[in-house]
């Protein structure tokens, strides 16, 4: 596996790297004591209150396109530059939140409305009792 950056280790702690990379780091952590040590150091830095630009950028989703922009992207209605940036953000940066938004938008076109409706009804029924009046 290619060298894991400190930024990627912080993203691993936040469960925000692409799924394949998350699994890769997990496997590497089992094999490599040095990587485990680096992860502990990254976690300790965070607990000590040291700020990371990358972590703040990810957590606040500062460059994430809006859901509406993803809709336009799927329709091919963005400029070439904007579409190019969205592909970069999804595939090179690998923003998992944006990948999830895009996957959700795509699935809305394909998924039977009954299936989604049933699923959401179950979520509601299992949690509505917790609403405070």
């Amino acid at each position: 596996m290619s060298e894991v950056s400190d930024s990627d280790l912080e993203a691993y702690l936040d469960e925000s790297l692409p799924a394949v990379e998350m699994a890769g780091i997990e496997a590497a952590l089992r094999r490599e004591a040095a990587l485990r040590e680096r992860l502990v150091t990254a976690s300790g830095r965070r607990d000590a209150g040291v700020h990371s630009l990358g972590a703040i950028w990810r957590r606040h989703r500062l460059s994430c396109p809006s859901r509406e922009q993803f809709g336009s992207y799927l329709l091919g209605a963005l400029s070439e530059e904007e579409a190019d940036y969205i592909r970069f953000h999804l595939e090179t940066i690998g923003c998992r939140y944006c990948q999830a938004n895009l996957a959700d938008l795509k699935s809305q076109r394909l998924e039977a409305s009954d299936e989604a409706h049933g699923r959401r009804r179950r979520y509601f029924q299992s949690s509505a009792g917790m609403l405070r009046r």
Binding site: A11, E15, G44, H51
Partner: protein, 265 residues
């Protein structure tokens, strides 16, 4: 009062810092985004907001306020709006639909449980994703897929938590959790302002360069290779970006010691 941050010896209280952040947000106003749902589904819940299109943030605020009052239709609306993306996020890792649905359900319950502590400052989607991330992490640990990070650094001393540089050890600067949040918000606002400037000017290469450097932590040479630009260009963009952030941080009376990357050349 917090002491020890600004180099000129002056102090900045947390109240002053909050006021500065409010001014900064007003000066670099967030983008207005509009609901993608339109009129796909009509519920009894109707946000009591002014006519015409409304921003997602405003809609979410009204939604959450209604949920706090126990409005079931509002809760159903929130589930409808966010369930799909949360499920996609979780399922990308678990690859098991049934388990993913369980984790998303835990996330929704977790949201309701944490509602008294949610002040709305953070966008609702980000907040929900962070809860889903915690529930997902718990699930992966229970499955034995995700190793637990030990608290002790082992052979490393606490000093190794501090990044090398001329900054004094950040770990020695004791700050409240609220203070740390304010610092993060200040830096977030400064980065956001720069990103919006780049987008407005069509400076996509600069945005990509900085994002690769700091979000992915790639070295200058690799960034240059991926973007087809020179290493000197990468170094220049990085220098300008960090210089701008340092200026903003200093103006707000924050200590650069808690942002060690800002002292990179």
């Amino acid at each position: 009062m917090f002491r020890g941050g600004p180099r000129d010896g002056s102090v900045i209280s947390e109240a002053q810092l909050r006021a500065q952040l409010t001014t900064t947000r007003q000066a670099f106003s967030t983008r207005q985004v509009f609901s993608s749902r339109g009129c796909r589904r009509v519920h009894a819940f109707t946000p009591m907001i002014g006519e015409g299109m409304v921003g997602n943030r405003q809609f979410d605020k009204v939604l959450v306020d209604s949920i706090r009052r126990g409005d079931e239709d509002a809760w159903r609306e929130l589930i409808d709006r966010y369930e799909g993306r949360l499920l996609a996020y979780v399922d990308s890792r678990l690859r098991n639909r049934s388990s993913s649905q369980d984790v998303v359900q835990e996330a929704f319950v977790g949201f309701l449980t944490s509602l008294p502590n949610y002040d709305g400052a953070r966008p609702l989607e980000n907040y929900l994703f962070s809860i889903a991330a915690h529930k997902l992490t718990d699930h992966l640990r229970r499955e034995g897929r995700r190793p637990t990070v030990p608290l002790s650094p082992g052979r490393s001393s606490q000093a190794s938590w501090d990044l090398p540089g001329r900054a004094r050890p950040a770990s020695s600067i004791v700050r409240s959790g609220e203070r740390r949040e304010l610092e993060a918000d200040a830096l977030s606002a400064a980065i956001d302002a720069q990103i919006q400037r780049w987008k407005k000017r069509g400076s996509w290469r600069k945005l990509m360069c900085i994002e690769l450097l700091f979000v992915r932590g790639l070295p200058n040479k690799e960034v240059a290779g991926r973007l087809g630009i020179s290493e000197q260009d990468v170094a220049n963009y990085k220098f300008d970006f960090l210089a701008r952030l340092r200026t903003v941080i200093r103006k707000q009376g924050l200590s650069e010691d808690v942002f060690p990357e800002l002292s990179q050349s």
